[in-house]
């Protein structure tokens, strides 16, 4: 038992350390890309590849292209799996260190850590989890006599502040309900509803500068569309307002989100 526990301890320590190298790898990747550009082997980036003031390079590439290529987006299944591994690894280390019988402690710690990680993931990604038509109807006080319903929440609801190199994470929680969806049996196929998301940057004077128009097929209930906007070199410090307009089911709903980009 002790032998297995120690092996687990070593493996989990290695796993934790390997994650620490992620930032270094990203920086190395960015520098390699920059070198390739100078050699003329790749097409130039649309934005400044690296900030170079007084012949000094910034430690991490925050060019828009690099940030877009390295988006931290992950599917919920992968996110949960990663968290479980991290939780089990951390649990094993702590359990192994605290227990007299290190092997047994590491195993108990790993199991506890994984359990905590599952609970933590569920809580952390609650806003990204889909919701069934019944649960959505209950939450919104929907009645089939109201006809079709389109609504959405725009998260975060408070004004958040981001620094260069970070991503402004915005989530659209879109609720779609039809009277038929509530009567659907489990063996019936889901109804597909087309929706369009128009996004705008709102500038002074209320002028809307279109970002883009995207269309998706969603099923009734609540679905989440996550966005990670890169706060990269071209994004100057200041206040920003985005408007999201969703059209579908013969309806149109608009919501706005504000965020701040700080200088440091």
């Amino acid at each position: 038992m002790r032998k297995y526990g120690l092996t687990l301890l070593i493996l989990s320590s290695l796993f934790s350390f390997s994650h620490g190298f992620d930032a270094l790898k990203m920086m190395q990747k960015a520098l390699e890309r920059e070198k390739q550009n100078k050699d003329g082997t790749q097409s130039p980036l649309p934005f400044n590849p690296l900030k170079q003031g007084n012949n000094e390079q910034t430690p991490i590439d925050t060019s828009c292209k690099v940030m877009l290529d390295n988006t931290p987006k992950n599917s919920l299944a992968n996110e949960t799996a990663k968290n479980v591994l991290k939780g089990a690894a951390t649990g094993a280390i702590i359990g192994g260190l605290l227990s007299r019988d290190r092997g047994k402690g590491a195993i108990i710690g790993a199991i506890t850590g994984a359990g905590v990680a599952v609970a933590y993931s569920a809580l952390k990604t609650k806003h990204l989890q889909p919701e069934s038509p019944k649960d959505t109807a209950k939450r919104l006080g929907y009645d089939p006599s109201m006809g079709e319903l389109l609504n959405f929440e725009l998260l975060p609801s408070e004004v958040k502040s981001y620094k260069r190199g970070e991503y402004a994470d915005i989530v659209l929680r879109i609720s779609l309900l039809t009277p038929e969806a509530l009567q659907k049996k489990d063996n019936q196929k889901d109804e597909l509803i087309p929706i369009w998301v128009n996004s705008y940057l709102v500038k002074d004077g209320g002028i809307l500068y279109p970002l883009s128009s995207e269309s998706y097929y969603l099923i009734p209930g609540t679905s989440a569309l996550p966005y990670y906007l890169p706060i990269c070199d071209e994004i100057k410090p200041g206040n920003y307002k985005l408007r999201f307009q969703i059209t579908g089911l013969g309806r149109e709903v608009s919501r706005e989100v504000d965020f701040r980009v700080s200088s440091k």
Binding site: P46, F47, C64, L68, T71, K73, N74, S75, L76, A77, N78, L128, Q129, P130, D186, N187, K189, D190, E191, L192, I193, P194, W196, V197, N198, S199, L201, G205, G206, I207, L208, Y209, P210, L211, S212, S213, E214, S215, Y216, Y217, L218, I219, S223, A224, L225, P226, Y227, Y228, L229, P230, C232, E234, I235, K236, Y240, T247, G248, L249, G250, E252
Partner: protein
């Protein structure tokens, strides 16, 4: 007594064991089949360069796409591949963020560009709106935007004979009927000019007004979902290599749609995005007429099952288009998988063409080359007139042809008291007949491989209007 009970119990146990073995075998066979399908699907995705995409089986027994997709277009492309190989019923065509990741959405890609005050190379052009109260009027007005593009800035894009003439003719017709008309033809129909015209109209139109949008040009997909846009003077055409590769496997089944998907248009006019969505917050009566190839797919994203090669029926479009705000009635020259034809439609040519068809059995008449041989006098007359028209066009460097759709619709409008639905009913058979004839001629000359039966198939969707009368 005990041995009877024992025997009964052992028989029961044997039966249970046997049934469980057979159930397990069936289950294993089912699992094996599912595994084979999943494996085949995954290897197909790899073959077409989607390295991080996978499929898995959903609880309802359909395949669901999982993994990492660079863009939503890539996700749609994966859906199309799965659809070709396994059939639409086997695929769940939704993006599920629990299982799949779309790394870069157009909003994320465009955000840095728009903040920097630059045009986003990843987005389609959209109209800037200024929010504010509009001046109130008590009477309604009629406005029209008419676009026709015969030649393009990019000379690699083939000319569209008659598109400019169609636009002029339709603008004239609208002006006679009291429309404040903005006409943009050829070099005038640039992206910026069209954008400006739409912005001007947006600031002018008020609740209760009518807005007619007519466009004649090439029709090509604006994105990989297959929704068709109008190619403008300075639009760019992008050869979509991967769809052309897909064409290799679908050419017998979906030839027209695959050809359509081979070329995407950059900075084209999207009817949904730039017209319907732009005017969504105005209670206008929107009437759209399109004379372009594949124009039946101009609003296809409103149809829930719209993948690149799928074409919905008029009924399906009407049902789905109820979600389109303010859209009144739409007429298109062709269905989503058909090319729209044009030629020297003026005067005598059309008379001869129609006279040529009279008295000849349809089954032979539709076979272009055979019909030409049967009635050589009629065929010669058409050939002579075509040459004369082509020479005239060359001499004046303008287009002197007309789109079959516009030519016949305009004529039918004059015969049907300016009623759009009636004119459509009056003209659609002629449009189909003449377009099929022109296609067969092109096929005889080796310019097109295959002509679909039945002509270009014009469409009319009644969304919030049973009919529209241009004269009232």
């Amino acid at each position: 007594m005990k041995w009877i009970l024992g025997l009964a119990l052992s028989s029961l146990l044997t039966l249970l064991m046997l049934s469980s073995i057979s159930f397990t075998q069936e289950h294993e066979e089912g699992d094996k089949k599912v595994d084979e399908i999943v494996e085949k699907a995954n290897s197909t995705l790899r073959k077409y360069g989607l390295k991080e995409a996978n499929v898995q089986l959903s609880p309802e027994g359909r395949l669901v796409l999982t993994g990492v997709f660079d863009t939503y277009d890539e996700f749609l492309y994966a859906l199309m591949l799965m659809n070709i190989h396994f059939g639409f019923d086997k695929i769940k065509p939704i993006y599920d963020n629990r299982l799949a990741v779309i790394k870069k959405t157009p909003t994320e890609l465009c955000f840095p560009y728009v903040v920097a005050g630059q045009e986003c190379p990843y987005g389609r052009f959209t109209i800037q709106k200024k929010i504010g109260p509009a001046e109130k009027r008590t009477t309604s007005k009629k406005y029209a935007l008419v676009i026709g593009v015969y030649k393009f800035a990019d000379e690699k894009i083939p000319k569209v004979p008659g598109a400019d003439e169609d636009a002029k003719a339709f603008a004239e017709y609208l002006k006679k009927n009291g429309y404040e008309t903005k006409l943009l033809i050829n070099e005038q129909a640039t992206i910026n000019n069209v954008r400006q015209a739409i912005s001007d109209l947006y600031s002018k139109v008020q609740d209760g007004d009518t807005l007619v949008v007519f466009a004649a040009s090439h029709g090509a997909p604006v994105d990989e979902s297959g929704e068709v846009g109008i190619v403008l003077y300075d639009s760019g055409a992008i050869s979509s290599e991967r769809y052309c590769k897909v064409e290799q496997i679908v050419k017998d089944l979906y030839s027209d749609a695959a050809i359509k998907m081979c070329t995407l248009v950059k900075n084209g006019l999207s009817i949904r995005e730039h017209i319907v969505n732009t005017f969504a917050d105005k209670k206008v009566n929107l009437v759209v007429l399109l004379d372009a190839c594949y124009s039946g797919d101009a609003l296809k994203s409103y149809v829930g099952l719209g993948l690149p090669y799928e074409v919905a029926t008029t009924e399906e479009y009407e049902k789905a288009l109820r979600h389109a705000p303010n859209l009144g009635i739409v007429t298109t020259a062709a269905s989503g998988n058909r090319m729209a034809w044009g030629g020297p439609m003026d005067g005598e040519f059309r008379q001869r063409l129609l006279a040529f068809s009279e008295g000849t059995p349809r089954v032979i008449r539709l076979d272009g080359s055979a019909a030409l041989e049967r009635d050589s006098a009629g065929a010669r007359a058409i050939a002579v007139e075509r040459k004369a028209t082509a020479k005239k066009a060359q001499d004046t460097n303008t287009s002197s042809s007309h789109g079959v759709f516009t030519a016949f619709l305009l004529e039918a409008l004059s015969k049907s008291d300016n009623s759009l639905a009636r004119a459509y009913e009056l003209s659609k058979d002629d449009i189909n007949y003449v377009s099929e004839f022109l296609c067969k001629q092109a096929q005889t000359r080796g310019k097109i491989a295959k002509c679909p039966p039945g002509g270009q198939n014009p469409m009319l969707f009644r969304v919030r209007m049973e009919d529209y009368n241009f004269g009232r």
